[in-house]
């Protein structure tokens, strides 16, 4: 016993000694100056990040600080003026005319006008460049400048919700001719000017005093990149950053002290899914697909993967709880039903399924672990296969028979057309549902809001019957900041007004 006590004591002495030396030299940690907001970036796109808002590797934490959209969204997701002050359409919703704000200047002093808007929209919808924004605004067939402050958009089909689509957080306005420079030296109209862009280190932005919605309250913003999510929560707990745009619901206990931290839980439209390729056996059989989806207790799965209050269950609909077209179905766990469907499909002894996943994003591995346990009683035996994070989107996603998927929040019209339409580039399961396509066309060109809503509801109900995409939940975003950070409303990032934030 003596030996143990002595050695413990000694270890303590060694550690304490080293610490004393260390602190004597280090002189304590740094503290924040009042006008700086430090936002942690998760390095999702890493070294390939660019400030080009239309690029797939856009540096998402900063693009909305530097650039503005034509149309923004309010807290309740109704479209509000941003760089456009007015918009109206013709009767069949195929031609839209927008009036642009007068006298807005880019950071370099040049004036924003309709030529810049046309240039920006042309880049978004350029099939050669194939921007992710094209999936949202691809229905725009032509953008024309009528005069300096009037923009006309012609659509290939009627779309009642074009203003909502234009409020996509990536549909930002860049200056004419900027495609080669915007990636590293961005010039926008937004509340902040980027002075240093370093996606693997710390990016810096300073206030734009001439911002058309009023000068920002902050002097500057710093965005250090912290790739490891545990390190990021540690940095916030230790006061090295002020704001985590999103963190794990299960770690909020770290930030329980309201005198030090503000925790915001924001229902969002982000979702994970397990996708089953319909061109692979046995997922070509709709009975198997349905069995795989109804064998799950979605509330329990959501709680396990995301933590208590970490998400809102959904019945395979990608339309989230804050969307006016949201459909609330009944999809309780049905083990017997699943067994019967499997038996009917020729699997009376259950079925073996290999699901590919990767830790490329949080929750993607836990989802399969939880799913594996949930479906066991129905005779569904899941083999979890880890794929490498870097090759995941390229080699696994849309290629293996069953894999985990992840999507950000999108309005109903967009997500349904982008992921579920037969012809969509990113239809991840290869499912060809001609009936669904027709329903989508009909819904989007219905001018009457109530009728349109009914049609979108019918679409989601139709999908629940035979889709190959299992969507268990929408994530509740957990945003944590130091208590001194004021002016961030508990709403999704698209609607945060950066110029209104202050650090007390």
């Amino acid at each position: 016993m003596h030996r143990h006590r002595a050695s413990t004591l000694f270890s303590a002495v060694v550690v304490a000694g080293l610490v004393t030396v260390a602190t004597a030299c280090a002189g304590g940690s740094s503290s924040a100056s009042s006008g700086v907001l430090r936002v942690a970036n998760d390095a999702g796109t890493g070294s390939a990040s660019t400030m080009d808002p239309y690029d797939g590797n856009r540096f998402w934490p900063a693009i909305n600080m530097v650039f503005d959209r034509l149309i923004g969204v309010d807290k309740d997701f109704t479209p509000i003026p941003e760089l456009a002050t007015k918009w109206e359409s013709n009767a069949d919703l195929t031609e839209w005319t927008l009036t642009l704000r007068d006298g807005v200047k880019f950071h370099d002093g040049s004036t924003f006008d309709s030529a810049d808007a046309v240039y920006s929209i042309d880049r978004m919808i350029d099939p050669e460049f194939d921007s992710p924004v094209r999936a949202v605004l691809g229905i725009i067939s032509k953008a024309e400048a009528i005069d300096a402050t009037t923009l006309k958009l012609t659509l290939s089909a009627g779309e009642a919700d074009l203003p909502v689509l234009l409020a996509d957080y990536r549909a930002l306005m860049t200056p004419e001719g900027s495609k080669d420079s915007v990636g590293k030296a961005p010039i926008g109209t937004g509340p902040f000017t980027m002075t240093t862009f370093d996606p693997e280190g710390t990016s810096k932005l300073t206030a734009n005093p001439d911002y058309f919605l009023g000068a920002p309250k902050l002097a500057s913003i710093e965005i250090p990149t912290i790739a490891d999510s545990t390190s990021a929560t540690q940095a916030l707990a230790g006061g090295q950053v002020d704001l985590l745009l999103s963190t794990d619901a299960k770690s909020t206990a770290l930030f329980a002290d309201p005198a030090q931290f503000t925790v915001q839980r924001i229902p969002s439209g982000d979702w994970n899914a397990i996708d089953f390729r319909v061109d692979q056996k046995p997922f070509d059989d709709p009975r198997v697909r349905k069995a795989l989806r109804i064998a799950v207790d979605r509330q329990a799965l959501t709680d396990i993967v995301l933590g208590p209050d970490g998400g809102v269950p959904t019945c395979d609909s990608p339309v989230w709880s804050g969307d006016p077209y949201r459909w609330v179905g009944d999809c309780k766990q049905d083990i017997e039903g699943a067994k019967k469907l499997l038996a009917d499909a020729g699997f009376p002894d259950g079925i073996d399924v290999e699901i590919f996943t990767s830790d490329v994003e949080d929750h993607m591995v836990d989802l399969v672990q939880a799913y594996q346990e949930q479906v066991k009683p129905a005779g569904i035996r899941v083999k979890l296969t880890m794929a490498d994070a870097s090759g995941y989107w390229d080699d696994v996603w849309m290629k293996e028979p069953a894999f985990v998927d992840s999507w950000g929040q999108r309005p109903a019209a967009q997500v349904l057309n982008e992921v579920f339409r037969s012809t969509a580039t990113w239809n991840p399961t290869g499912q060809q549902d001609i009936e669904l396509d027709a329903m989508l066309d009909e819904a989007r060109s219905t001018a009457d809001a109530t009728q349109r809503n009914a049609k979108y509801q019918a679409i989601q109900q139709h999908m629940f019957e035979n889709t190959a995409i299992f969507i268990p939940y929408h994530k509740t975003l957990v945003r944590v900041m130091r208590a001194k950070v004021k002016g961030i409303d508990p709403i999704v990032i698209d609607a945060v007004r950066w110029e209104k934030i202050e650090v007390g």
Partner: protein, 282 residues
């Protein structure tokens, strides 16, 4: 860490004579306990290792979960007791393969001598110079984390020190008078290896192998920690530590329990090796 150990030298002689027995018993008993546990874990009255409880996430100890639950509401006690099986199995397999490989290379080099010896030892130097964790990261990331691949890689990384040791030890023995005498009598080299060299170097090699076992345990846990080791939902100490690390300040047990197990096994093996190797010194 593992490179450090791989490249540094013979185990250090340790512990005063009067205390040796105590170290032997404590260390050996712990090692034995770990091995026994790894074997009998499936027959213990534990909760299923994969069973999740959506109402009990990151909870402290309770009657149902003696060591609380992890971030998916699973029983930490069961996972910890099962958690040694993959790492111990993998470490044993790699170390045995490394020993066989290293032994073969070392013996061939020492018996053949000349250019064969020179070539083998230069290749050996080259393998020794490879940063092992970097190689493991590369292999696990690019080729895959299949246990066969990992075992082969680990064996290749850990054979060189054994080869060097065996060669030196066997050269030592081969030049002794009684061996020279035996050779003069016309004894074949193979006979000599079996009858004279093997028994003489057994102790040294066993010590090295035991030390390597602990380094491989640590290397595998580092790999799991960096997300390239064991496959979820396998209960494995390194993976458990990695999964629980983010919640360490909220629920320490899912991290502390596997750490205690991993550290106690490594410590016990090290102290036993220390003891037995100091027996061999004159």
């Amino acid at each position: 860490m593992t490179d450090l150990a791989r490249a540094s030298f013979e185990p250090v002689k340790f512990a005063a004579p009067g205390r040796r027995r105590a170290w032997l018993s404590v260390g050996a008993v712990i090692v034995f306990g770990h091995v026994l546990l790894a074997i009998v874990a499936p027959w213990l009255p534990l909760q299923p290792v994969a069973k999740q409880n959506s109402g009990a996430i990151l909870q402290g100890p309770s009657a149902a979960h003696w060591l609380g639950t992890d971030n998916l509401g699973r029983d930490v006690l069961a996972r910890t007791l099962f958690g040694g099986r993959p790492s111990i199995g993998l470490a044993v397999a790699s170390v045995v393969l490394a020993a066989v490989l290293g032994f073969a290379i070392g013996m061939v080099a020492s018996l053949a001598g000349g250019w064969v010896d020179e070539v083998l030892m230069r290749v050996n130097d080259v393998l020794l110079a490879l940063p092992s964790l970097l190689v493991l990261l590369l292999v696990a990331s690019f080729i895959g984390r299949d246990s066969g691949v990992l075992i082969a890689t680990l064996a290749l990384m850990y054979a060189p020190p054994i080869a060097r040791l065996v060669r030196t030890a066997s050269l030592n023995v081969l030049t002794r008078d009684f061996i020279v005498a035996a050779r003069l009598r016309g004894a074949s080299r193979r006979e000599l290896v079996i009858s004279e060299v093997l028994p003489n170097i057994r102790g040294v090699v066993l010590t090295e192998v035991a030390m390597q076992f602990t380094w491989i345990l640590l290397a595998f846990s580092s790999l799991s920690f960096l997300g390239l080791g064991a496959n979820p939902p396998t209960p494995e100490w390194g993976l458990m530590i990695a999964e629980g690390r983010g919640y360490m300040t909220i629920a320490p047990l899912p991290v502390v329990a596997p750490i205690v197990m991993l550290a106690s096994l490594v410590l016990a093996v090290n102290s036993t090796v220390d003891r037995s190797s100091s027996d061999g010194t004159p």
